[in-house]
Symmetry: D2
Subunit: 382 residues, 4 copies
């Protein structure tokens, strides 16, 4: 193919593409698998742009596995890239979420961007695009969150990340991850109280950026009803962060590679049909489960949701009534199994606590997969 001089090949040479690698973690500080991949050259360190980590903590107030994973990864990356911590943090978005209840498996998902299109099925349609950005620093007053400033900073940063990714159309965006910066210097208790408002404002910032909500109607953000939500936001609050970070995934014809993203909404905690429809759109069949070959094509799964306040399809559940297990831990165990039953694997980035992210009691879901081979596509075209 290299000899040909037509546009396709030219495009192939210079197109950026995203590669995604997942690695098992035997503990939150286990970075051996990534280290080995870096050593043998399976991954080029300077191509890493983002690492999503799912650790085995409780995913709640006193979950320190996220901090442990982050410090361990930063240590490895500084060493391998010969960079200082600030430089690594400026270059690579590290986003951690605790909680691998039920079948879920602790793992890290390493996102690389390279210019070697290697094997791209040129002309086969839009491919996975990636962009990230740091939001402008927001100075909150005391323990309260300046919700409007946070909302605006996030909206601006999402737009910036979209432009970096070459995603100029909202509908091409399939996932916006926000690592929202908590105000500095808060006590543990005050941090916990600030988190919902911070996440809510951030999610509304995404919704505005994706034209899901109009900023004109967003005056007092604490008054915005839960019925206003973004279909693609997934927000995590983090402390010890100078400013919020944004990661955007979408599909773009300007990108090469083998991956594509899609997203959907789960209307409630049993909404497996919506997941199956999304997989169908991506070219795969889960009725009820992907076959082993197709399971291997799954590269990343990100779900953000929360248990419903009321019944599930008319029947009472007890997630909020259990004083021994937090409702969000019930939730992750349940939704992790629902997704795993459909996808045939257990490595999902599943985050609970979903202010303005997805419908109430439902969820946002983004799946990134290998684009199916051409024959499948051809079969569907005349």
């Amino acid at each position: 193919m290299g000899q040909a001089a037509d546009g396709a090949v030219f495009r192939q040479r210079v197109m950026k593409s995203v590669q995604i690698h997942a690695f098992e973690m035997r503990s939150p500080d286990d970075t051996r698998a990534l280290e080995q991949a870096l050593e043998v050259g399976a991954i080029e360190g300077d191509e890493i742009v983002c690492i999503l980590v799912k650790t085995e903590g409780n995913g709640l107030a006193n979950d320190f596995t996220r901090a442990l994973a982050e410090i361990s990864l930063l240590s490895l990356l500084c060493r391998h890239l010969h960079l200082g911590r600030d430089d690594v943090e400026a270059r690579i978005s590290l986003i951690c979420s605790g909680g691998t209840e039920g079948v879920l498996s602790p793992h890290m998902t390493v996102v690389c961007v390279s210019y070697q299109a290697g094997g791209t099925d040129v002309g086969s349609g839009p491919r996975l695009a990636f962009g990230h950005a740091h939001a402008q620093r927001v100075v909150h007053s005391g323990v309260g969150i300046d919700e409007t400033a946070q909302r605006r900073a996030i909206t601006a940063a999402v737009n910036q990340a979209m432009i970096k990714a070459g995603l100029y159309d909202h509908s091409a965006v399939h996932l916006v991850l926000v690592k929202a910066a908590l105000p500095a210097g808060l006590e543990a208790g005050a941090q916990q109280q600030a988190k919902p408002a911070l996440r809510a404002a951030s999610a509304l910032g995404v919704a505005v950026a994706l034209a899901e909500l109009s900023p004109e109607h967003l005056h007092d953000l604490s008054e915005v009803p839960r019925s206003a939500w973004s279909s693609r936001a997934c927000v995590t609050a983090a402390s010890d962060l100078a400013c919020s970070e944004i990661v955007v995934f979408g599909n773009s014809p300007a990108w090469g590679g083998e991956l594509v993203a899609g997203h959907t909404i789960l209307a409630d905690m049993l909404d497996s049909p919506s997941v199956a429809r999304l997989l169908k759109q991506l070219g795969y069949d889960a009725s009820p489960q992907l076959n082993a070959v197709d399971t291997a094509a799954v590269k990343a799964v990100v779900l953000k949701g929360e248990p419903p306040r009321s019944d599930i399809r008319g029947h009472r559940h007890t997630m909020w009534d259990d004083s021994d297990i937090n409702a969000l831990r019930h939730y992750r165990s349940a939704m992790g199994a629902l997704l795993s039953g459909l996808l045939g694997c257990t490595r999902h980035y599943l985050s609970a606590g979903a202010e303005h992210q997805g419908p109430p009691g439902g969820a946002n879901l983004c799946v990134i997969m290998q684009a199916p081979a051409s024959p499948t596509h051809n079969a569907r075209e005349p």
Copy 2:
């Protein structure tokens, strides 16, 4: 139809049939829904033969919701049936299991046997059959379980219950519930230690009765490997019980009514395809979920399983490593969601802790549904 004199109508007149009713429970002592059904005649009290209860406790050592549900139900039934407690217990099998983690809904499943075939699709094939029996009392020595005596008592009682149900062929049996009697007078700690051996011996008793294992190879039961298991046993240990109880469900041409049972094995915690295949056998399509009409046809779902000791499809899980949430609570939340995603409802009798019950790391599943209307059946036959 009553005027005709052919066999079908004659059969309809005298055939026994099983009806199953599920009721929401707002708390473990909430029997109001059943009480109302008895009062308005929706259920005849003297037709009740078994009640399966799923309570919202932790399903572990200190789960007293089962005792509360039992005492509450006994109180209602004694009052309504004008019987003493012993008579109610002799007539009705009350089997409780704690744990409604995740989406699962606390509920009771009331099984009735009547002679009014009402609406039976005569000649349409075998229908749900029910039988129960009390096992011979086993006297254990001290804190230890006399495993062989327990095994034999269960085998005999299963055979007896099968005969009562008119199930003469092992393959027609789809579920054997055992409420195994713990030795009397044990301390709480000793009870906990005795439970695994009691459940194991009982499960092996079922396996022998169903010809899944040969009694000749069962000398020292504590030595029997986990690779020996019954595909239809679901054992619960209970204290304050004079002798173990057995409940058998199967399909028989001698029974009428509208219900049929089926069972399958889940090879691992992600084995949704096996569930879908079972539903297909029963005449329903879950790809990935039953439609709302078919969901209403689900009458009872009983799953018995346990988390695997090792990985799930090659990936690490943390259910056994979590010192704050017991592995079985993780399990029920996960499997409850997997089943609910397929079936479209959240009322399942899901029991964890599965010595010799189903494959290691997998599960036994029995589903009881309304037999599909004839057209569907016809459609598949020339």
Copy 3:
């Protein structure tokens, strides 16, 4: 002594006296020890006026061990007293609290009132007095609590119970237990939300009755600061109760018997000196622990408190930051051990969740003990 005709003996003949018996509970439905005491006549059933039960549940929203204990005790009492449930409930105050974390022991404390002064040290000072009353029924509107009506109903009922006990001076009252009736027909979630306001209004009702607060300053009860509190209130919220119940303990010269009560305030979670001072007032020495003989003189210990929102003596604690163990469970384990270390026994009625009950971060404590033998008293008098 019976032959003498002086006032002391006359007083002895007709004085009422309180006896207190504690019984081990092997499970929340274990009433065997009480049953046996009734059978052998160690307790006269018609002398029972109150039973305090400490069950081994989590003491939180989904603790059904209280309901199980109550139904089990009612069943026994109905059977033994040949009374209907309503009559038993009208005569005997059953008050249950869940949570025996740490060293605490599940037990019931049975309070009897008799006219046989048996062994009373006549003329030795005021003795334990008991009174109880049902508050007027309060009709709350919807899910909200009518706090003022509840406050007033409790104040009136405390006064009534004091009069029944012959306690006309506020300072002679050492404990007021309130079993506050939740509005009927609330969902589990709504009940949980209603509890704090109900308990707060009830505690303020006690404070007014004991002249600790002036009713004039209590307009909007939800605005009353936490710095207003009763030193002797211990409130529990209960559902399925027609009206709130009040139990009062104090010391009165009109009562005979061998028991006396005292109370104190714990300023914080480490305030063992206040406990020791109270014991000293009662005639006992805990420096740091009662000796075995004196431990046997302890008849009932009731503590109501809550973890502090901020530090303990300048050092951070993590009770509120632990997402796996509820702060109140931490609290009961800690305070149970603090008390047990001083008293040398582990049967205490320790209740957490203390709106307007005791100082913030501190606790109310009432101890009922055998009055020390005269020599001790004489030793302190010239």
Copy 4:
């Protein structure tokens, strides 16, 4: 004083002394207080010999707060001391224990050894001595622990640490901390299974070194009854450790400074009198609590114990029956409060899981305090 030429002054000039500093930790990775102390010179970095850390994790299998504290402290110490990680680990014993249930406060206790006797009350008796040693590396076979090799390695290392501390008499030793190295390369599950045997063998190693047990009777260590125990061992198992580490505290006339150590045994979970007796020996009065001045004299408190398998003083407890809270978490909350009530502070190194460490159901306790001022001592001498 420097001018005088007598022995006392000479002794003062060259005597080693131990200083102990405690620092609040706002999270397991919070090393700011220590960092500040190093920056202002309150602590000389090269005088640090040991840091005991009590983190706010669950103290059980999946407690990663210990790893986070360790990596954070190592990072600070490497930076401040300009040493590599191996050198820091060779010089400073870092021993972490998770679990600050109840009133306990997350903190670190930094032990320094200096040659500046500063303010030593010369001739006032033996003072706190410190020694540490690395045990010889033990190669275990597979998942099993070579218990005899571990026992011997620990015995030898304790002797070595004693010699380093100048403690030649067993009775002068008041605490032996062991950080026992788990076999390398074990899975999480296998690690958990190996821990009890490793801790048991290590504790027996201490017992032999302190002449509490005779090595002749220790053939098959797994057969040694629980009635054999060391009164001063406190063992923690750790992974990622090349060889086990030993820390010894005792009192020696060869050491100066202001601190002294003492130890005692708690016979059961209520044994506050033994604690008070120990404090009395050290010159302090806790009846029931140290006064504020004396509380400030407490420098370190180390307790190792476990919940009893049977009753506490004749009454049932439920620590082992609670399936939602691990018994060791109940234990730490209870014992932390018992100690805090006596000592008036909440910073204790309290470790649960006590194979052959202290009497069954009881505990080992070591307290390090400022030696009381001379008048007190004089008062006791003629």
